[in-house]
């Protein structure tokens, strides 16, 4: 176990710790460590990811509270801002219903939170932040919740059928079935992480390669693809695959 814990910082290498990364001028995409906090005998580093994550969490929470405070004024005939809010919520509900069915439409509320956080993280590259989703720790944490949700729903809805699913079609495949269950969160988190990290590194390289004047308008086209297109697409894919994996474990 100790050996495994020693190896863990190596796996997300660029991610959790500042290692031997090149620190050239204008070519910097590591997680800076601003400081360290001692908590429960463990040392936690405070990096760019943590700061940006908390910033966007506060922004989203304040936005939600403002919208919640305005909820009393909403009428049956929507006007102004109510139109926009209803449209967004309905779009997410329709998305969930199309993937999971009418019966499990309550997952729309959970995935709305996931969706908005991942979307704002992916798009934060446009504002010059280091996207929090370009860190395996963030995507891994989100995926762990999905992993627990998959198996919680499987056990609570499927009962014994859930455990029977592991020895199908033949009992010899038990081990392979378990490995494929463990591969699900890994592939989910690495897909999002790799896409956003790759986009961010390419953007950093473009900025460092271009001269001072060209930095104003040339990278906009690359931003369109790597931040807006890939960011939105990966957000939709992440939520859609999570919903499909959860639905997969629930018997009809």
């Amino acid at each position: 176990m100790n050996l495994l814990l020693d190896k863990i910082p190596i796996i997300p290498g660029i991610v959790c710790y500042d290692t031997a990364a090149p620190q050239e001028e204008g070519f910097d995409f590591t997680v800076h460590m601003y400081g360290k906090v001692e908590l429960f005998g463990q040392t936690f580093g405070i990096g760019r990811t943590l700061v940006t994550t908390w910033f966007f969490m506060i922004v989203l929470t304040i936005l939600a509270l403002i919208l919640r405070a305005g909820l009393k004024k909403y009428t049956d005939k929507p006007t102004g801002g109510q139109n926009v809010v209803e449209m967004i919520v309905e779009a997410m509900n329709d998305f969930t219903v199309s993937n999971m069915g009418e019966k499990y439409s309550y997952f729309g509320k959970w995935f709305f939170g996931i969706f908005s956080f991942i979307l704002i993280s992916n798009l934060s590259g446009l504002l010059g932040f280091r996207p929090p989703t370009a860190d395996l720790c963030t995507t891994g944490a989100i995926t762990v919740t999905t992993f627990f949700l998959i198996h919680f729903m499987g056990i609570s809805k499927g009962k014994l059928g859930y455990f029977k699913g592991y020895i199908e079609p033949i009992p010899i495949l038990l081990l392979i079935n378990i490995i494929s269950e463990l591969a699900t969160p890994i592939s989910l988190s690495f897909r999002l992480f790799g896409n956003i990290l790759g986009g961010m590194i390419i953007m950093t390289m473009i900025y460092s390669a271009l001269g001072s004047i060209f930095q104003f308008f040339v990278p906009a086209f690359a931003h369109m693809y790597f931040d807006v297109f890939a960011g939105v697409l990966q957000t939709v894919i992440f939520c859609m695959l999570s919903q499909l994996f959860i639905k997969d474990k629930i018997p009809d």
């Binding site: 991610v15 290692t19 031997a20 990364a21 090149p22 992480f193 790799g194 790759g198 697409l233």
Partner: protein, 90 residues
């Protein structure tokens, strides 16, 4: 004798760079797969132009899933280049 010895750090760094390049061979697979998906998507739109929205959505989903193997290769290459785990073991 000293003239022919290699600095171990330089050797590990060079091998890591080669490894990163080899890891990116993984990009071939998603390239073929996504091209295939796009071709089939174009065929489907040609046959059924009214279902264009659904076809594009399905194709993008398939492409993004097919991309993940290439992304694993990219992650391995990036770790080798920027977060080299082997340097620490010298």
């Amino acid at each position: 004798m000293d003239n022919y010895s290699i600095d171990p750090k330089a050797f590990v760094l060079g091998c890591s760079a080669i490894g990163a390049g080899l890891a990116m061979i993984a990009g071939i697979g998603p390239g073929i797969g996504q091209g295939f998906a796009a071709g089939k998507g174009a065929e489907a739109v040609g046959r059924q132009p009214e279902a264009r929205g659904t076809i594009t959505q399905t194709m993008l989903l398939g492409c993004a899933v097919a991309e993940s193997t290439g992304i694993y290769g990219l992650v391995v290459a990036l770790i080798l280049l920027f977060g080299n785990p082997f340097i620490g073991q010298l």
